[in-house]
Point group: C2
Amino acid sequence: MDFVINQEMLYATDDKSLFYQEKEAFSGVNRISKKVMHDVELVFGYSPQATTDRNQLGKTAVLYGTVNHSPMIFELEEKKLIDLSEIKGKREVYLFQVIDHPFEGVEKALIIAGSDKRGTIYGLFHLSELLGVSPLVDWSGVMPKRKDSISLSEDLKYISKEPSVRYRGFFINDEWPAFGNWTMKNFGGFNVEMYDHVFELLLRLKGNYLWPAMWSARFSDDGPGLANAELADEYGIVMGASHHEPCLRYGEEYKYLRGEYSIYGDAWNFIQNREGITRFWEDGLKRSGKFENVITLGMRGEQDTSIMGKEATLADNINLLRDVLQTQNQLIRENINPNLSDVPRMLALYKEVEPFFYGDKDTPGLMNSEELEDVILMLCDDNHGNLRTLPTEEMRNHKGGYGMYYHFDYHGGPISYEWINSSYLPKIWEQMSMAYDFGIRDLWIVNVGDIATQEFPLSFFLDLAYDFEKWGTNAINKTDIYTKQWIQKQFGGVFSEDKMNKVFELLIGYTKIAHNRRPEHMNVDVYHPVNYMESDQLLQQIDYLLDIADELYNLVDSENLSAYFSLVYYPAVGNLNLQKMWLLTGKNHFDAKLGKMEANRLADQIRECLKRDRNLVEEYHTIDNGKWYGMGLSEHIGFINWNEEGCKYPTLMNVLPTSKPRLVVMVDGEEQYTEGPEWHNNKLYLNDFLQPDKNESSFTISSLSDLAAEYKIISKNQWLTCSKTSGSLDGRENTMEVIKVRIDRNAMNGETAGSIVVEMPCGLATIIVNAAQHDFSDLPDMTYVKTNGYISIEAEHYFLKKEATNEQGEVNRFLVLQGYGKTLSAMKAFPTTEYFTPGKDAPYLEYHFVVQEAGMYELELYMQPSNPVTTDHTLFCGVQANEDDISIVNALPEGYRVDDPNWAAGVLQNIRRHCSNIYCKEGLNTLRIYAVSPGFVLEKLVIYPEGKKPANSYLGPTETYYVGK
Amino acid sequence: MDFVINQEMLYATDDKSLFYQEKEAFSGVNRISKKVMHDVELVFGYSPQATTDRNQLGKTAVLYGTVNHSPMIFELEEKKLIDLSEIKGKREVYLFQVIDHPFEGVEKALIIAGSDKRGTIYGLFHLSELLGVSPLVDWSGVMPKRKDSISLSEDLKYISKEPSVRYRGFFINDEWPAFGNWTMKNFGGFNVEMYDHVFELLLRLKGNYLWPAMWSARFSDDGPGLANAELADEYGIVMGASHHEPCLRYGEEYKYLRGEYSIYGDAWNFIQNREGITRFWEDGLKRSGKFENVITLGMRGEQDTSIMGKEATLADNINLLRDVLQTQNQLIRENINPNLSDVPRMLALYKEVEPFFYGDKDTPGLMNSEELEDVILMLCDDNHGNLRTLPTEEMRNHKGGYGMYYHFDYHGGPISYEWINSSYLPKIWEQMSMAYDFGIRDLWIVNVGDIATQEFPLSFFLDLAYDFEKWGTNAINKTDIYTKQWIQKQFGGVFSEDKMNKVFELLIGYTKIAHNRRPEHMNVDVYHPVNYMESDQLLQQIDYLLDIADELYNLVDSENLSAYFSLVYYPAVGNLNLQKMWLLTGKNHFDAKLGKMEANRLADQIRECLKRDRNLVEEYHTIDNGKWYGMGLSEHIGFINWNEEGCKYPTLMNVLPTSKPRLVVMVDGEEQYTEGPEWHNNKLYLNDFLQPDKNESSFTISSLSDLAAEYKIISKNQWLTCSKTSGSLDGRENTMEVIKVRIDRNAMNGETAGSIVVEMPCGLATIIVNAAQHDFSDLPDMTYVKTNGYISIEAEHYFLKKEATNEQGEVNRFLVLQGYGKTLSAMKAFPTTEYFTPGKDAPYLEYHFVVQEAGMYELELYMQPSNPVTTDHTLFCGVQANEDDISIVNALPEGYRVDDPNWAAGVLQNIRRHCSNIYCKEGLNTLRIYAVSPGFVLEKLVIYPEGKKPANSYLGPTETYYVGK
């Protein structure tokens, strides 16, 4: 007989209880059980009862408890009804088992036994998940699907895994104006009422670790008093503090307490005010040391700055930091535990602290120093989702282990991103799984800004940290599956499968677009307004996605609107509409420079986008009775500084119609244009048909006046047809016309070029159509052929992929990372921690291509903007053209450093381009790209004759023809 | 008793005549006498009578005749009543004398006796001028002031001068769409009815030479038939044809006559179609050789292009041209006059023909070749008013003499100017008087485009050619006097003295502004929108002038409106409004980039300017019953090519108001700005008070939103006051506020800097006011002092001006050319033909200045963009700093050639800037600038520490402080 919960049972009026709330249980566990009982009510419509008296239990019971904190669990183990040996001594593990007759009167029981407090809590929430309750039930108001009944098999016995990463959590940061206004309005402050929701979110997502808001808030004072900290402790949440808030003191505390007559002095300076600062730290440890914490060590300047002036030497800084660490360790010994290795401590190697840790060739850093024994060394990304240095094989022996501080939100240079989610799961996967591979397994913390709209990537981040075996390195290309499961959890009861697929398209679509450029980083100069039609194609995709968003918006019922709006619609539409606005602005400026009347229509559309942006935030602020009020307040348009100061809306360009009827012709995807003047350039070149797989192309006629202007189109060749032969534009309603051009290659009879004449009021434009035909029948599939100036290759479209075996017999190989790339995908070598030697154990990708002229060519590699994993500032790959020697190439610019302009360009563009020269033969060429350094992730290759760079664009030239395309 | 004409006499009904029309007189002279009689009618209201019968004359008579063509004049001479010895044998001279009793019945006669036909005609028109009739009476409808009576002293005896230049005329060119449409509508073609007006204009302006319209017209066919040529001949007008229309054939004739079966063949090519072309020329000479002409020799390609392909060598070209010349001379001998030296001929050294004339070191050119004996060699300007090569002393011996082809209108590169007058008298004076000095005295022709609006500079050009002694080299700085006289002639009876001064301001004002930049050459990037406030100051000046134009427009009576409109208002307002439009566009773009709401107001103002431009042309086309219809049709806005193809109206930039109240502060005249952000630059620097003569400066607060935004202004120093201490902008009606800052230097008590704080919604801006005080009491007047980064000197403000004497004892000296300079004036050395040797006979200008730091400085000279007068492509001056050697500097860029990009920049900007380095001492420095090559015209000097160029601008930095300023 299965374990069944059903409506009937809950509705029964016999006053029997389903949940057993042991007096001996952790109070936090009992609090969580109430949340789970509320979940039960949401699912079945009736609230279950709980009792502290076994005799009040019904025939079916939920029995939970924690090893060593539950007489009941102890008793069941004694009775051999359950076996706790598999969970005892483990971290955060639970037994989840259906048993019969635990005690008199109870026929069927679900046992949830935790190895520790968090184990029990995760076990309880496991029940909620089985009931179909989303971890976002409370935070986002995701309503579970109603059920009549649920049954768990009588054989059910599940022992959860020990989480992959020890401390897993997030950091509420950059909380003004959004999170701050939200909590002030909804809760009256950064207090325990608000944190109860945050803690619940964290625990339901199987996290255990939190850095609280700290821009203006004082977690230990705002509860009010210690209430925040006490509730965290009750729930088993391990509190941390950000990288510059040591000894259980939050940054704002010192600001609050300092002063001329303060016992803590009036200088955040360990040299000038050693006594005051030490006392400040000591009192922090005394106050909060009783809770579960990971204590931040070290010292940085106030507000995320370095502590010593620019004059200080590296050695000065290291010595000061060592002094600080010694002082702090001593304070911890005295006030918390004489056995330091029992006290979780963390030092963040953030910004300027990184070099203090590594030192340089003359000055040893703090690495391996006794002050850091057992301390978790927290490494960091570059604030933009790219890891910085990672532990070398030797460093991985550090007993304290390593942590990683990652960002989904950042307030800083080159440009902040704080408004809405712009993180892309494949990138999080690629970076964080590499972090794990490199041994970073003790602490993962992600900066989620205001939390709101980050729920989707945050879920993934914490799931990855909890169960790396399931989602990590071995689960390559599973983020789509994750996304589908996540959608199922939130909207399983709301949308049909078909519509959930649309939610999927929307989430993948908007995050991929944001991955290509974050919304705050967008501006008029990002995408090229015409080249390769990259703006038009993206606009088309955005409009498709916006339509989906609206379709689902119109479909969702009112109960679920809020969850759909906050989790999907708002971040998606916010992102897409903003990107659209900038793309239209690029086109507006381009068209205005040519005087096209279309520019004025675009200007109107830009105004519409801005209006939509404002309305969207307004709706976010008012939906669900203002639940999210404030969360949309961050500026997000047109940053010209790292923060919003001086940010600018798009400048709209308007054109004044010419006084005579005038038209202009452009070949689509290119900057060529002409009005067909008598004395100036009146020829355009349409070269698309040089790509053998292209049989359709287009040009556009646009009006420069608001007067009726006629045109005629005359194709001079039978094998060329145009979609129109004449027409008229009025420059008001009809400002432009796209003319499709089709080619019939079979009718060309050896001709290699044709022409189209466009007669316009101010002249004749001739479009020369180049369409030389080639015979590629001798060439094998996947051979690229240069037919029009350059070759553009998606890295995934290699001719062959060569694995290699190292001395230990392990296989090194390139694998495709699907969707991870600005245009298609990316190639990365595994294992991710290895350095490979080309010609020995390095895997390689081989590309075949044909050029018509021998000579020097430029090879441009498009790569993820990975930072080097070590401090030598290099990131190598191997390049080999034909029979040439393998050239080991540093893909980083000379002198590259995180925070330098090259780095800044890379994180904004989310691409690194590197050029090198290769010699090509006439005819078939072979190019091999070898993996060398970790972090080499290849997206695209472009090859062109030296000095003849293809037209500029953001995404790079679209892929050119290969045999078999 | 004086010679009197009065109303009474004309009104008298006794049928007695005033004018004696001899049968023997030239018919053209009699035709002109009728025009003069019409002038008399306009003045007195009654028409005088004319008679061929002496007995019909009244007591008072006007007796005119031409030596050798007038029995009456012969008779008077015989009677010793007049003495013709002073005019006989002279060119175009007349005797103008009052005598008593020439014959029976006539008591008082005015004798007008011409040495030749044109002499008599000029004499007749001299009477009109004495009556107060403008030479523009017919062409522009300038109405003379009504008079009751006029009297000429009984002693009056005036013998006119022989004109300074032999052939003096203009070229109707670039006549579509303006002149062409005008004549089609008003006269039905390029026919004799139209030319009658053109001839009259030419003769009244004392010209004698014409190149007729030739874009589509055929002067010799359009009369109809030869009527145009016949009338010209009747009037004594010497016909020419443009530089590429040889042998009395107009360019379009060949197009009209050529063909497969034509006797002239079908190729404008002397190699392939020698026979046909020769015949074509021969028939032209036969047809038109009977008239008075200056026959164009040589051959160029059709439509102003070179004749041989690019492959041809210089020698090939020279040989071909020599062959052509020999052929043409032979045809002239055979068909016109075997004595070639009696036939006026001209070869234009235009464009590519110039090198064929000069040759190079390996290939002798055509200079001194027998084919060119007695041929007028016509040199040219660079199409933009700057002379090219001029005859060397040796070349001046050429018997045929020299001509100059000058431009007030041009259809060609870098940018055409064809719409309205944009020529400036001081420039015409400077260039054409130099031409005369260099011996160019046989032919002056000026391209006047459509004639319309060129009447003012054309009058000057022809007066200068007619009476060089009065207006030429010795009449330095008399163009203002000329202008006042010209205004008096046109509006003496219309406006009061006071208002005529306003006309003067308007004419000088708009032509000076056009001199700084022609209207067609204007674009958004010419003037800097903020630096040195050059745009604002020019806008202020333009608005002042526009107000004058409108004031006079409203004042003028309806009879004189048409003349005022066409001669003054239309070209002035057309120019000014167009310049204003572009200046506003520059500000619009600048403000839009900063997001200022002011940008939107500026956009509206730009629209207004465009509207005004269109309305102005419309009024021009309809005023006076459509008299000028068509003349305004030339495109004139936003040229992006050399011609109007693809021309663009200003792009209007609109800003979207920020969502929060935001303000921005700028220091006026500089690009600095700030919103006072916390994290970014929030300091501005006001350095104006470093100039000891400045006691007032300003900054501007502008709104970025359309929301009410408050500001407070706090001066931190007692000696600094601001014109406001607080205020508010709404971003709608009030988009900006200029705050005046005043300094009380006496109250500074040794302080050298102060500050002003501006509190705004988004932050605090601090304006640092630098005002270090200096003691200049030791320094003599005219010593410049670097107080703020650079020194800017108007060339006229020298410390001393040193004359020098050459071996012949002539004095060489610099003279001020008033008003000739973009900002103040210019300095030019005289005699203009001389090469000077610094240290010997070179005059120099000496400047004194003080710098605080010794070191290398850059000296930037601002000069007129003169071309070198010889073919060695150099234009030297001497520079000497302190005791250093005199450095002989080539002010032209390396490899400078007319038509190259440096030249193009020079003619568009109407300035040449040249930088050289000088070493300066700490303290007082001396700088001498020596004249070396002809054509060196210095406007301004800017000195700054090497590499520290002052902020960019069109006019250059405004003049800085000198002692005694």
